[in-house]
Amino acid sequence: MSVSFHRAYSFLIAAFGLFTLIGCGGSESSSESASSGADKIKVGQFYALSGEQATFGISSKKGSELAFAEINAAGGVRGGAQLEHITFDTRGIPQETGNAVTRLINNEKVVALLGEVASSLSDAGGQVAQEYRVPMITPASTNPKVTQIGDMVHRICFIDPFQGFVVAKFLKENKNATKVAVLFDQGQAYSVGLKDAFLEAYPKMGGEILTVQSYSSGDQDFSAQLTNIRDLKPDAIFIPGYYTEVANIALQAKRLGVNTILIGGDGWTSEKLTEIAGDSIEGAYYSNHYSPEDSRPKVQEFIKNFKEAYGGETPDAMAALAYDSVYILADAMNRAESLEPDDLAAAIASTKDFDGVTGKITLNAERNAEKDAVILQIQNGESRFVTTVSPN
C-alpha cells in the first residue's frame, strides 16, 4: 500500500517535472512540416521571451514575424526562396544566449542570425556567431563592443555614445538643465555604456554631474541612492536602466519626494514601465529609435499592419527595429552573390540608405548604423514624441 503510494507520488512529481520542461524549453518553429527543399532559407532568432527583459524579446519577435510573413507573401527572397524562422528563448541570461545560438547554428543549421536587445546578450550570442562564422544582425543592442566582436556581427541601430550625447544635448538645450545626477545599473553593459557616454558628453556642453550612483539588476530598494540624490537637488536624474528597475526607481523617487526630471534611454521601451510605475513616471523623458507618431507613410503602414496582426497593439521601438532587421537581412540576401557567410556578411555590411521604419539606415565601416534618435515623453501613460536629435 505505502509502496504504491510512494510510486504514485514520484510519478506525479515526475509528471510535473516533465510538464515544466515542456513548458519552458520553448522553441518555436514556423515550418509547417512541409518538405524542406532548396527553396527554404533558415534564419535563427534568439530573444528573451521570459525573464526580466521579456517584453523586449516578445515585441521584437512580433515585429520580425510580421516582416517574415510579408516577405514570404511577396514572393520570398532570391527569386522565390521562402524564409523560415526559428526562435529560441535566451531567458535574458548570457549563458543561455550562448547555448541558444550554438543550437541554432549546429542543430538548426541557420544561415543567418537575428537577435537580442540587451547588449550583454547580443555580446554572448555574437561571440558564438563569430566563432562559427554565421552572419548576425542585432536590431537593438547599442553597446559599441557588440559589433567589435568581428566581421559577422552587424547592427541596425545607433550606439551608446550617440544615445548618451542625445540625452545630454536634450537636457542642456531643451530643458536648460545644468546639474544632473546619474543612477545606472552596474551589471548591464548597456547601462554602463550610456553612463560613460553621458559623463563624457555632458560636461563638454557645460553641464555639471553632481553624483554618479549605481544599482544592480534585480534590486528593489533604491532609497539610499535616491536619498543621496535628492539632497543634492539636481535639475534632472539620468537613469540609463531597463524598465523593471526604472519602474521601481520612479515609484520610490515619488515617495521620497524627489521632484525632478527623470530621463533615460531606449531601455525604458516597454508598456510595463507605465503599467507598474503609473503616475510616478508621468512627465519623464527617454531617447528612442522611433516614434509611432512619425507621419512617414512607411511608418504608418507598418503600424496599421502590426495592429491588424496583433489585436490593435501599437508597435514599440523594439518591434520596429526587429521588423527593419528582417527587411535588411532579406535585402542583403537578394544582393549577396551567394548565401555563404562571407558573401552574406559583406552584403549586410554594405547596406546603404535603406529606407526603414526606424529611419534611413546606412552601415558604417564598424558595421554600426548612423541615424537620428527621438526623445519621447510619458504623458497619461503614453509615450509622446517631443523632438528629434541628429548625430551632428
Binding site: F5, H6, Y9, S10, L12, I13, F16, G17, F19, T20, G23, C24, L49, S50, G51, E52, A54, T55, R91, Q186, Q213, S214, Y215, S216, G218, D219, Q220, D221, S223, A224, Q225, T227, D231, T244, A247, N248, L251, Q252, R255, G257, K272, E275, I276, A277, G278
Partner: protein
Amino acid sequence: MKAFIETLINGLSLGSVYALIALGYTMVYGILKFINFAHANVFMIGAWLSYILASKSGFVNPEDPNLLAIPFVLLGSMLICGVLGVMIEKLAYAPLRKAERLNILITAIGVSLLLENGLQLDFLFGTQPVGMPVLLENSVVATVAGAKVFLVDVLGISIALVLMTSLHTLVFHTQMGSAMRAVANSPQNAALMGISAGRIIGMTFFLGSALAAAAGFFYGMKYSGLQSPGNTTWVLLGIKAFVAAVVGGIGNINGAVLGGFLIGLIEMFGVAYLRPEYKDVYVFAILIVVLLVKPTGILGKPELEKV
C-alpha cells in the same frame, strides 16, 4: 539624522521580511534537520498571490480598495501558501522521511526548480513583472527629525511583530507547541508519547509557509513592482533570509527573528553609509564572521553529535 532615521526604518522594514522568511527555514530545520530550498519560492508565491488576490480575484477593486482589502489579501495569501507548504511536504518530503538526508535535500532543490519554472507558464504567473495595486495610500504617519515615517512601513513591521509574537506564544505556551518542540527534540520519543509526528510536521510547514506569504505580501506592498517568478531576486532574498536564520542560530525561533532584523539593518546601513554596490557583500560578510566566531549562530547552542 534624517538619513539615519530613514535608513533605520528601511532596515527594520526589510528586516521584518527577512525575519518572517527565516522563521520558516529555522522551524523546518529544527524539526526535520534539513534546509527547505523551496521556501524562497513559497515567499515569491506569497507575493504573487497577493498581487492576484488584489487585482484579479474580483473581491478587491484595485482602483479603490476598501479597508477589508488588506486583511483579505494578507490572510488569503497566507492560507493558500500554508496549504501549498503542507502539500509540498506531503508530496515531496514525507515519502523520503526514512531516506538519507542528502536525498531530501536534493528533492528540495528539485521542488524549488519546479516551482520557479512551472509558475512561469502563461496561465499561471507568466514571465513578466507586474505592478501590485496600491492597497494603502502612501500616507505619512509621523515625521521624526525631518524623516517621513510611512504607513506601509509601520503596518508591515507591526504585522510582522504580531505574527512573530503569536508564533512565539504558540510554540512556547500551547500544547501543540510542546508537541512541536518534542518532535524537534526526538521524533522517536515524541511518537512514544502519542504525538503524531506527521501532523506536527505538516503544521510546521503550514506555519512556515504562511509566514513566508505574509513576508511576500508586505514586500509587494512596499516595492510594488514585482519581479517575474523566474527572477533571481526572489532566490537571492530567500538566501539572505536563510543567512539570517544561520546567523541567529538555525533551529532557534528567536534567533531567526534576531538574525532577520540584524541582516536587514546591516544591509540598509551598508548601502546608505558605505557603498550600495556591495549590498550583498555586507550580508555574506556577516555570515562568514558569525561562522568563524560562533558557528552555531548568535543564539544557537552547541549540539553534541549523536553517535
